[in-house]
């Protein structure tokens, strides 16, 4: 009798385990093929009409007198809502990494933005310490300055090479042990707003017009996914606020030096050129792919 009861309990437990595994499998339904790029798209929401996965492979960001080439890929991913008058609101990536943080090397390193010669004695001594310990590399990381919902996408403008294709609120994080953890150009309250276009810009002087490019589109999955290669988004009419929080406790000494080194960062002195490969999918198609592959 005892043996029989044990067997029943064991069988029930086994069945329960199987059911749990099945449920877990269903929750982890996965995207396959060309759809795998959209794993972090919030496609589960029926409000999401399109999924976007854009990789900026190269380009440059000029901030005042400093030019930082984009050498490490930066990914922008998420979904877009139904477009209103051509502009679609953005929904951030499900893993929270809407704009990936890819530290880019700042040419000239620490001495390029905090020159020893023009620094106060205390700063000079500290710089010497960092130089002696080979801590001279400075990275510049692009970060979202506002919630993803502030990003705006216009697919019509993107394709037509006119108007703003992507509005992106960003801030630039300057990283080096000497600069501390809070050295930023731009913030959530004072973001750098990039109005990126595939068309031609109209910047104030001294900048001159530059042109983006829609790129070459190819349809995949029978028109469910659009792959755009050689897409170039540009903006050289943006302004940037002064840097803040650089140098930790010596911020009051270091931040002004960096500000002086960057030079004028008002509109007409800055440039963003982003060279991208862009995948856009219909949200419904991604949902269907997910449902078909439990």
């Amino acid at each position: 009798m005892q043996m029989h009861r044990t067997r029943v309990v064991a069988t029930a437990f086994f069945a329960l385990t199987l059911a749990a595994l099945a449920l877990a499998g269903s929750a982890q339904a996965k995207l396959v093929g060309n759809y795998t790029k959209f794993a972090q798209c919030p496609y589960a929401s029926l409000e999401v009409k399109k999924c976007i996965y854009s990789t900026t492979e190269s380009g440059e960001v000029v901030l005042g007198s400093k030019k930082v080439p984009i050498e490490k890929p930066v990914v922008l991913q998420g979904g877009t809502l139904k477009a209103v008058e051509g502009n679609a609101g953005f929904v951030g990536a499900t893993n929270g990494i809407t704009l990936s943080k890819a530290p880019q090397n700042v040419p000239g390193g620490l001495l390029g933005i905090v020159p020893e010669a023009s620094s106060p004695a205390l700063v000079k001594t500290l710089i010497k310490f960092f130089l002696e310990n080979s801590l001279t590399g400075v990275n510049s990381t692009l970060e979202l300055a506002e919630p993803a919902s502030e990003i705006v996408v216009s697919e019509n403008n993107l394709a037509a090479e006119t108007g703003v294709a992507l509005k992106l609120p960003v801030k630039v994080h300057l990283e080096n042990p000497f600069l501390g953890k809070s050295c930023f150009v731009g913030s959530s309250t004072s973001p750098i707003i990039w109005n990126l276009t595939t068309g031609e810009t109209s910047p104030p002087a001294p900048n001159t017009k530059i042109k983006g490019k829609a790129g070459f589109i190819e349809f995949l999955e029978e028109g469910r996914i659009a792959l755009t290669k050689e897409n170039v988004l540009v903006d050289n009419a943006w302004s940037a606020p002064a840097p803040t929080g650089c140098g930790g406790i010596l911020s009051f000494l270091v931040t002004p030096i960096i500000k002086a080194q960057l030079g004028t960062t008002t509109a007409g002195h800055n440039t963003a050129i982003l060279k991208n490969t862009l995948y856009i999918a219909s949200g419904a198609a991604v949902r269907k792919n997910n449902e078909e592959n439990p």
Binding site: N156, A214, F219, E221, E222, G223, R224, A226, A281, A285
Partner: protein, 206 residues
């Protein structure tokens, strides 16, 4: 003195030869003809494309009924035309996800002219603008306006009385159509038959 006079004569002769060459080029411009006689006044060509499709890599759009109305004339010996109407019906795509919601020609009339490239006569249509709205919940182009713009050259076959548009004819006539900011393919076979004063007369271009 004699040398100067010879030089002037030679220059004059060269000029005469050049003028003659240009005159030959001008007279060689193709014109619309009915029963081998040059068209005088205007005529209307009205018809429907036998086959027509537009392709962006990965997506082809076909229209079963591609009608057109073209008013033609010869101006200074060269065939000209004005495409005044081009309704498009029963358009589909090769994709299960995308259907054609609306499609229509914009900014009509479109000017056209006859031209010779190599040994072939072409009709070149300029200022082409066709707006397409694709539909389909799963279609990535849903909600996106696709506009086809540019110019297109089609080779004229006097025997079949047709104009053929394809990648080769567009390239040969130095024309191109663009959609989504990139060059697209357009294939079409258009009969060229008069529907006004010269009905059932053989239409040719030479």
């Amino acid at each position: 003195m004699r040398t100067k006079s010879t030089a002037i004569s030679a220059a004059l002769a060269a000029l005469v030869v050049l003028c003659a060459m240009f005159a030959t080029t001008a007279s060689a411009a193709p014109a619309w003809k009915f029963e081998t006689k040059s068209l005088e006044g205007t005529e209307v060509i009205l018809g429907g494309a036998i086959e027509s499709s537009m392709t962006v890599p990965g997506l082809t759009t076909k229209c079963e009924d591609f009608l057109y109305k073209l008013t033609i004339e010869n101006a200074s010996g060269t065939g000209k035309g004005s495409l005044t109407e081009m309704p498009l019906y029963n358009c589909t795509t090769n994709s299960k996800a995308c259907t054609v919601g609306t499609i229509g020609a914009e900014k009509l009339p479109w000017a056209s002219h006859l031209a010779t490239f190599g040994t072939t006569n072409y009709i070149v249509i300029e200022g082409v603008k066709v707006a397409i709205y694709y539909e389909g919940e799963e279609c990535v182009l849903g909600e996106t306006l696709v506009t086809v713009t540019g110019s297109a050259g089609g080779s004229i076959d006097n025997t079949a009385e047709t104009a053929t548009f394809n990648a080769s004819t567009l390239s040969a006539s130095k024309t191109e159509l663009k959609a989504l900011s990139q060059k697209i393919e357009w294939n079409g076979l258009f009969p060229t038959e008069a529907f006004q004063w010269h009905r059932e007369q053989a239409l040719s271009v030479s």
